[in-house]
Subunit: 376 residues, 2 copies
Amino acid sequence: MSERFHFTLHATDGRARTGTIHTPRGEIRTPAFMPVGTAATVKAMLPESVRATGADILLGNTYHLMLRPGAERIARLGGLHRFMNWDRPILTDSGGFQVMSLAALRKLTENGVTFSSHIDGSRHLLSPETSMEIQRLLGSDIVMCFDECPALPASEEAVAQSMRLSMRWAQRSRDAFGDRPGHALFGIMQGGVTPDLREESAEALKSIGFDGYAIGGLAVGEGQEAMFGVLDYAPGFLPQDKPRYLMGVGKPDDIVGAVQRGVDMMDCVLPSRSGRTGQAWTRRGQVNIKNARHADDPRPLDEDCTCPACTGYSRAYLHHVFRAGEMISGMLLTWHNLHYFQELMAGLRDAITQGRLDDFVTDFHATRAQGDIRPL
Amino acid sequence: MSERFHFTLHATDGRARTGTIHTPRGEIRTPAFMPVGTAATVKAMLPESVRATGADILLGNTYHLMLRPGAERIARLGGLHRFMNWDRPILTDSGGFQVMSLAALRKLTENGVTFSSHIDGSRHLLSPETSMEIQRLLGSDIVMCFDECPALPASEEAVAQSMRLSMRWAQRSRDAFGDRPGHALFGIMQGGVTPDLREESAEALKSIGFDGYAIGGLAVGEGQEAMFGVLDYAPGFLPQDKPRYLMGVGKPDDIVGAVQRGVDMMDCVLPSRSGRTGQAWTRRGQVNIKNARHADDPRPLDEDCTCPACTGYSRAYLHHVFRAGEMISGMLLTWHNLHYFQELMAGLRDAITQGRLDDFVTDFHATRAQGDIRPL
């Protein structure tokens, strides 16, 4: 096992890239989709099942874990990997996004954010220094800088002020992180939808120096067109030889568009959250399994899918167990969705390697346009 | 695959027996514990995981399945085995017990029970003939006679009248079942806690003739002492060469006592229901995982258990995910509980085979008396 975190670029196709992130806990094939394991579990899945879908890395949420069961407790129990029985890489976010969206009685200052837990009301501080310490206690392989992520739309002035605060916090995160061989620290570019601010942010991060660079402040309500607009130029401000991570994205067509624009890593709760609410993602589009038209349908969700939900069960069964409120509904649909997302990533990687990404994307959209099922 | 349903007795130890029930869908090792898959799923488990715990057969509930998704629908979809992705034997109950405990606006007559669905209020009839038809549509391997099961305590006169009604229904069930090679029909002995009534019921059933015999009307509130009291004599009224099935039992010590008294098959929701409410069953007794004393405990539920919950996770983790309301809590605890129940059955079978059941039972009780954990 290599002790050094590094990124190898294997091939490019247009702006799209495929490569490998090497970590002491294993390799991450890029473009990579990271399932979200908020509270030390990818909801409705056992970790060996998450791995079976093809995931190389999980995301854990600093905000949730610091509040319950607590970072010190996880450290005493041997770290997050051992705690949740996942021995491959884990990326943790900084808590910055969740604290602004979930916590109560927030107070933002130059130092950081004080807030009350949404679970028990206890008071906490998240700052660059405490976020680095919590992520160290968790044993995260890829640590994210503590930043502020303003919701869009926001004024350019507000976005600029917030970005500059995040850049000062990025320097403090870098200083607090120190030198931890085998562990990586990623900076987070902010700047909203303004190219000058994105460039200013990228320059600030590059002058500090990180192991990877996230594109933050997107997927926060701006819409796909605006997001792709930023992705048309923002990745170009970042170093070619480091991984680029688009945070909180997304739907399959968001993922495809982001990969076309040079993104290497993404994460989203969508496949697991959708799975628990009866929504399946397939190459033919979205299927709402609670719809009555599935009640007698003997066909699988996707006849070409090799996941356990599609090889073992009919739409009629999936409809029945969803309607009956059975846990196997969330278990099977989540597995299917994660399988589909990982299969999409594998397809993108292969297409980039073979220089046929345009054909892959054309086929991706054409298959979706066919609708989710053929006539019985 | 043998086309004929039959039972082979391998060994006895006192009144306890071990054997094999042969069915076209596979063998059932007895004494057998049958996990309950009420609504075409053993809650929180994939069927391959249920099989991995050592289960040879599942139980399905006629009452639930006839109401949702409907027996005709399951038949159109290829039967219950295919529907729920379980290709081994399935026993279905008759609906008689559930209709009296769950349905609304029940009316019991000589013909059967008319009732309103607890799901949508629709009116239905369960009778010996409709129960046989529904169980045929489901494709059940072991079909149960339609009977009435009075709650205890009840007057001897009420129990006698109910038993004699059940015996008339047993004859009608036998007539309606007809001749279905590879499928078995079990009679159900009633008679409460009165030896004369139990004997009268057994004689009535034997004169009709069944492929197996259930001991009904127990585990309905009479307590373990009264249940064991009946089991001290009732199995002796039944044929030696047919399987004996004790319905709705039970806790591990109920199971051990029933096996000692000559029972071959049992079913209970306990391991799966407990698993979803944070209760684990171990050889050292019951563990309430939500108890705060587990919050920092790095040890597994049971250090000697080989199930995924015990080999992969600490009590601290199981405590955390239960408190956080995560589905993996029910998934892991259910798996552990079913694993433990099946391991207990395997231990009982081995002990009977080797003629050391008394030692096994002594050790079973001594280990439980030690308490669920050693000091840290």
